[in-house]
Amino acid sequence: MKLSTESNFTKPDDAFRAVVEAHRGLSEAQSADLDAALVLILANHIGDIGVLREAIELAKRRMATADQQAQQQQQ
């Protein structure tokens, strides 16, 4: 299986909102706790190490890109 990056939710806003609301009112530490548990629950649900690795790669690539943009803006 390959990581799906198509839009999979009929209502993407509902999904985004659900995650955001879960974090409402939490401290940074509590939010980090919640995210850690959420990542593991979802990773297990996917149950495919290849897909998980692709997802990690995408998330990390995005971080690298964001860092580059920040540096360019500073220059």
């Binding site: 980090a32 706790d33 850690a36 548990a37 990542v39 593991l40 629950i41 297990n44």
Partner: protein, 534 residues
């Protein structure tokens, strides 16, 4: 340890009277009389080789050290004639429990199915294992075990190595065709061949205490994360023979070893763990560990085995057991090369197979250690998430890593023949032979393998036809008028057998090839491949 001999005398050997220009010559010299060196020497001697075994001490090391010996190690020791003695003395266990705080969150059984001669593990102090191995060595005149013989010099030549050995009577030299270094984590031979190695050092310190007490705990492996008696750290409790209990406590990285080791500091902590203070200390030791291996296990005519070649964290019983797997892997190969029956290239497969196994052990044990001692706040958070999820989810329980216990590696090996037939199960080539109960001349397949000569052996499920096995290959027949019976059908099931199915087993009990309907030509080809003639 009163009933076993642990102190051995130095005896002068005639080799020491040879003139310096005319040293004695030996086929195999093994350095280090620990579990690995002793087992290797016995295996080689049983195959008909003469072995000189050198050790720089004159006694078996103190402390329990390695205590968990795996099913695979016991099967190896069965082949060396000492498995039963180990099991008789050892504490048999297969259940592990994991606790978080006060609560049990996970339980596993390492050998959930019956029908194996040996249990998943026994716990036995290393000094007992070594003492029994030395007793076996004493029965084998082909092994010349020399205590207080310390290798201090080493020269590599094309067709031999030259060793300088220090003794209480001064130094002497011997020549060896092959040298096997089983001289432990601080191997001096490793330094002499210039193969020092770096690896990941784990900063967390662990304290081992062996305590003697009469206790009602079951014979299981208990592991705690964040126990009430040792907040924020981890702890392990394990039973050994003689009412001795092994306790491992994780300490802070900055703990002062000298202070932590003092009995007056260890005692209250353990009293809190056990709920009483009716115990005596047998041994207290503090350790850090490294996970690392040599780049090459083979340096010309010198081979490295056990801790000398690779080191892992102790959580997983991968140290001594993987060293013993090294020994069983090397013995038959070295024997064949010494007899000229296989090319020297066969020895290269010792490195190929066992270095991959070491990588696997290092990977597994690093993961366990990282789980026990998270290195960043986010790692700690992920671990906390796993531990809390484990209370209500199966996947959370399975992600908890309190040490994944040693199972034999599957070799991706040039000695294996690729499967040509259809298989729905059974051990593929490169896998160690599964045991199964049978009736007749042997009660288990592992016993039948020993009876067939602990050599290349064809395990054949009868279809009534004659078996045309290559010369010098043992045969275990299942079914038919003069074969072993498989009344429970477990042998057949574990080997995915149909009438006519045959497995070619190596002398270390690993599968080299398998066939639905073997022809003599196919068997010859598989045997040639498995003996390094390719």
């Amino acid at each position: 340890m009163a009933q076993t001999k642990t102190q051995f005398g130095y005896r002068r050997h005639p080799d020491q009277d040879r003139r310096d220009g005319d040293p004695a010559e030996h086929a195999v010299v093994v350095v280090g009389a620990g579990p690995v060196g002793l087992s290797l020497a016995i295996d080689l001697a049983q195959r008909g080789q003469s072995v000189v075994l050198l050790d720089d001490a004159d006694r078996i090391g103190e402390g329990s050290r390695a205590i968990c010996f795996s099913k695979r190690s016991l099967e190896f020791w069965d082949r060396l004639g000492i498995g039963q003695r180990m099991v008789d003395k050892g504490v048999v266990w297969s259940v592990g429990k994991i606790f978080h705080g006060d609560n049990q969150i996970y339980q596993f059984n390492l050998l959930p199915e019956p029908g194996h001669k040996r249990p998943a593990f026994i716990n036995l102090q290393q000094f007992y294992a070594e003492a029994y191995l030395v007793d076996r060595v004493d029965e084998l005149p082909a092994i010349d075990l020399r205590w207080r013989n310390k290798v201090t010099g080493f020269e590599a030549h094309n067709d031999h190595v030259m060793l300088t050995i220090e003794t209480p009577d001064g130094p002497y030299r011997i020549r060896a065709s092959y040298l096997v270094a089983c001289d432990g984590a601080r191997s001096s031979l490793r330094q002499m061949v210039g193969a020092e190695f770096a690896g990941q050092v784990f900063e967390d310190q662990f304290l081992i205490a062996d305590v003697r007490m009469a206790a009602e705990f079951p014979t299981e492996r208990w592991f705690w994360f964040d126990p009430p008696f040792h907040a924020g750290r981890s702890a392990l409790l394990h039973k050994q023979p003689d009412d001795i209990w092994r306790i491992d406590l994780q300490l802070n990285p900055d703990a002062d070893p000298a202070v932590e080791k003092r009995p007056e500091n260890v005692r209250p902590r353990i009293a809190r763990m056990l709920g009483h203070d009716k115990f005596e200390f047998e041994w207290i030791s503090l350790y850090k560990f490294q996970c690392r291996r040599m780049e090459r296990f083979l340096h010309g005519r010198v081979m490295f085995a056990g801790d000398a070649a690779h080191q892992v964290s102790p959580f997983g019983a991968r140290g001594a057991n993987s060293g013993l797997e090294d020994a069983e892997n090397l013995a038959w190969k070295l024997d064949r090369v010494l007899r000229g029956r296989s090319p020297q290239a066969l020895l290269a497969t010792y490195h190929t197979e066992r270095s991959a196994a070491a990588d696997e052990n290092i990977r597994e044990s690093t993961r366990s250690t990282d789980f026990m001692a998270p290195v960043s706040p986010q790692e700690a958070r992920l671990r906390k998430a796993v531990l809390s999820l484990a209370k209500e989810t199966e996947f959370g329980k399975r992600m908890i890593n309190g040490g994944r216990l040693s199972v034999p590696s599957v070799y991706e090996s040039p000695l294996s023949s690729v499967d040509g037939d259809d298989w729905r199960g059974g051990p593929r080539p490169g896998t160690s032979m599964p045991d199964a109960p049978v009736t007749g001349e042997a009660a288990f397949l592992t016993e039948a393998f020993i009876k067939a000569g602990t050599r290349f052996t064809l395990l054949a499920f009868s279809n009534g036809a004659d078996i045309d096995a290559p010369e010098d290959v043992g045969v275990i027949r299942i079914g038919g008028p003069d074969g072993l019976a498989d009344p429970q059908g477990l042998a057949g099931r574990r080997y995915d057998a149909e009438p006519g199915t045959a497995y070619l087993l190596r002398p270390d009990g690993y599968v080299a090839a398998r066939f639905r309907h073997p022809t003599r030509a196919a068997l010859d080809a598989a045997l040639a491949r498995a003996t390094g003639h390719n």
